[in-house]
């Protein structure tokens, strides 16, 4: 006879785990250790070393001759004979802050535009029309092309003398003389943005499309029967339902955008209006022989991204253990 009183009894955990459970957990450990060890070697250790180097004055030529200088790479000051205080270090380096500005500017603009354009493309692909497969294949092409190749393709198209973009714009009367897209500091960032948006919008479009396809068709049909205007349907029905997928795509893209290197290095080398944090860190590390200084810059970028990731996980409360899985 069932009685309710027993419901509140707290039952002790099994005294001994069964053979099956023990065997599986043991196997799981064996399966995980090699992978975790590999990650420790290629990720954890190098990261710690980079952070360490940031506190030293190591040079590229003499990796083991560096001495501990504390936070001097980050910030230090000298009192000159005249009594004036001179601040030096990354946090006082205008080149660094320029890089930060470039990076953040790039990230905000590119992600925003890629999301908007990606949404448009996704909506187009979500509609049923003849040739849809062809269009989907076509938009995969920018994504499939290696970044470096894209940089050179667009570098050629944006060439000031022989570039086809200038030619088209001149012929359409939009500009009156040829623009040096990659060389001029006014337009270099625009050039970077054009290429990155061209290259990454397909990726965003595909992620958003996946989210769109999870919305059941009947909802649209019900809205149609109710006579809801398509624009209103989009903003009040579609958008809220797609929001989770879009947010995930935006987060991933933003993290990628913050660490951009390849495109800037190849398309607009040596342009201070596009140098991002990654570019300037590597410049110091490898080109300028300032290994410790560059490591400190790398550490700062890492911390920026880490804060971003922590915020996302904390705010998003992503369930990573998987619901209902064994």
């Amino acid at each position: 006879m069932a009685t309710e009183a027993l419901d509140t009894v707290v039952v002790a955990r099994p005294r001994e785990a069964s053979e099956l459970k023990a065997q599986r957990v043991r196997a799981a450990m064996w399966f995980l250790v090699p992978m975790l060890a590999a990650l420790a070697v290629v990720a954890a250790w190098p990261l710690l070393r980079t952070i360490y180097f940031g506190f030293t004055d190591t040079t590229l030529n003499n990796l083991y001759g560096g001495e501990w200088i504390g936070i001097e790479n980050y910030l230090n000051w000298q009192v000159l004979a005249s009594g004036a205080v001179r601040w030096r270090g990354i946090l006082a380096d205008p080149a660094w802050w320029g890089a930060v500005r470039n990076t953040v500017y790039f990230a905000v603009i590119s992600v925003t535009l890629e999301t908007i354009f990606g949404m448009i493309v996704a909506l187009v692909l979500n509609a049923e029309f003849r040739g849809r497969g062809f269009v989907r294949a076509a938009i995969l092409i920018p994504w499939a092309i290696p970044t470096i190749v894209s940089a050179r393709l667009w570098g050629w198209m944006l060439n000031d003398q022989f570039g086809i973009i200038n030619d088209i714009l001149l012929k359409l009367g939009i500009i009156s003389q040829k623009i040096a897209w990659t060389a001029s500091s006014d337009t270099a960032m625009t050039a970077i943005l054009i290429v990155d948006i061209w290259k990454t919008t397909p990726f965003m479009a595909l992620l958003i499309l996946a989210g769109l396809q999870m919305v059941p068709r009947d909802i649209y049909e019900a809205a149609k029967i109710d006579g809801v205007h398509p624009v209103k349907t989009f903003f009040q029905i579609t958008l809220p339902l797609v929001r989770p997928a879009v947010m995930v795509a935006v987060i991933f893209r933003t993290l990628d955008a913050l660490r951009i290197f390849d495109l800037v290095y190849v398309l607009t080398p040596n342009s201070s209006s596009t140098k991002t944090m990654s570019v300037i860190a590597r410049e110091n590390l490898i080109d300028f022989n300032k290994f410790g200084y560059g490591s400190a810059q790398s550490t700062l970028l890492f911390m920026l991204i880490a804060i971003f990731v922590i915020l996302y996980i904390w705010l998003g409360r992503v369930n990573l253990s998987g619901e209902g899985s064994r």
């Binding site: 090699p34 092309i145 290696p146 970044t147 050179r152």
Partner: protein, 275 residues
């Protein structure tokens, strides 16, 4: 009337999207078939098919070698990562143990590292191991993004495999290793191929590590080779050659992506659309 307008504007939009997506590649093709002074005349349609750029690129020493290097490095990286990832993802998706969520979160976090953050540390490691300027430096460093990616995607796929089939295998006396190799792997072939392909593309495209850890033309990978293709002087950028090299590298990738597009999209969204 309005319907006709809507219809045409929709297809106009489609056309714009397709043209923007495909034009750069098309134009590279057109350019690659030009040489000499023809390069300096802007044309929108191919005039002749002059393959001298392709000949020059393919018979030069460096470009074919760089392709081989890229294939070697990308293949080994992916094989290594898949091998570790298959077993690890079983543990992470099918076995319950304390700390599982934490490990998954760590793996996700590692995949978000900016590569520059470990550049200094890997540089030291590579020098220490004496593998600077060799493919092994790249295989080692590429693991930092290939491994978390493959583990993450394979874990997602494995979670979806049916529980009861695994339980039937347990009742039949299968150990976890047997379950992975004889029951799950045959069911996961498509996922492995997709994941491997995506990881291969990622490794193929990598630039920062390849640029930093190779210093001679015989060890460079293709992205670096293409990035550094330059002429005798500042003014003489060999655009024809560059376009030819770009086309050579892009065509196989595009073909692969088109063949596997459904699976690639599934893999990307499995990794991306979570939470």
């Amino acid at each position: 009337m309005i319907r006709y307008l809507k219809w045409t504007s929709f297809y106009a939009l489609v056309a714009v999207i397709v043209v923007i997506a495909v034009f750069p590649f098309y134009y590279a093709l057109v350019t690659s078939f030009k040489s000499g002074t023809a390069l300096f005349r802007i044309t929108y349609w191919p005039e002749r098919f002059d393959i001298s750029n392709y000949v020059s690129v393919l018979t030069g020493r460096n470009f074919p070698i760089s392709i081989w290097n890229s294939i070697f490095v990308a293949t080994l990286t992916v094989v290594f990562a898949l091998f570790l990832a298959v077993t690890a993802s079983y543990a992470l998706s099918r076995v319950q143990f304390r700390g599982r969520g934490l490990i998954l979160m760590t793996i996700l976090a590692v995949s978000m590292f900016p590569q520059i953050a470990v550049l200094a540390g890997v540089f030291e490691l590579v020098r220490f191991l004496g593998i600077f300027n060799s493919p092994w430096a790249l295989i080692l460093s590429y693991t930092i993004f290939t491994l978390p990616f493959t583990v993450w995607v394979l874990t997602t796929f494995m979670r979806d495999l049916p529980i009861e089939v695994e339980e039937a295998a347990i009742v039949d006396g299968a150990s976890p290793w047997v379950i992975i190799t004889q029951v799950f792997l045959p069911l996961m072939w498509p996922a492995l191929v997709t994941t491997g392909l995506l990881a291969f593309i990622g490794a193929w495209n990598e630039f920062l590590f390849a640029l930093t850890f190779t210093s001679s033309e015989t060890t460079r990978t293709t992205p670096v080779a293409i990035a550094l293709l330059s002429g005798a002087s500042e003014q003489e950028v060999p655009w024809g050659n560059i376009m030819a090299a770009s086309v050579i590298v892009t065509v196989p990738l595009v073909i692969l992506v088109l063949i596997f597009q459904r699976k690639i999209v599934a893999g990307l969204t499995a990794g991306g659309v979570k939470g």
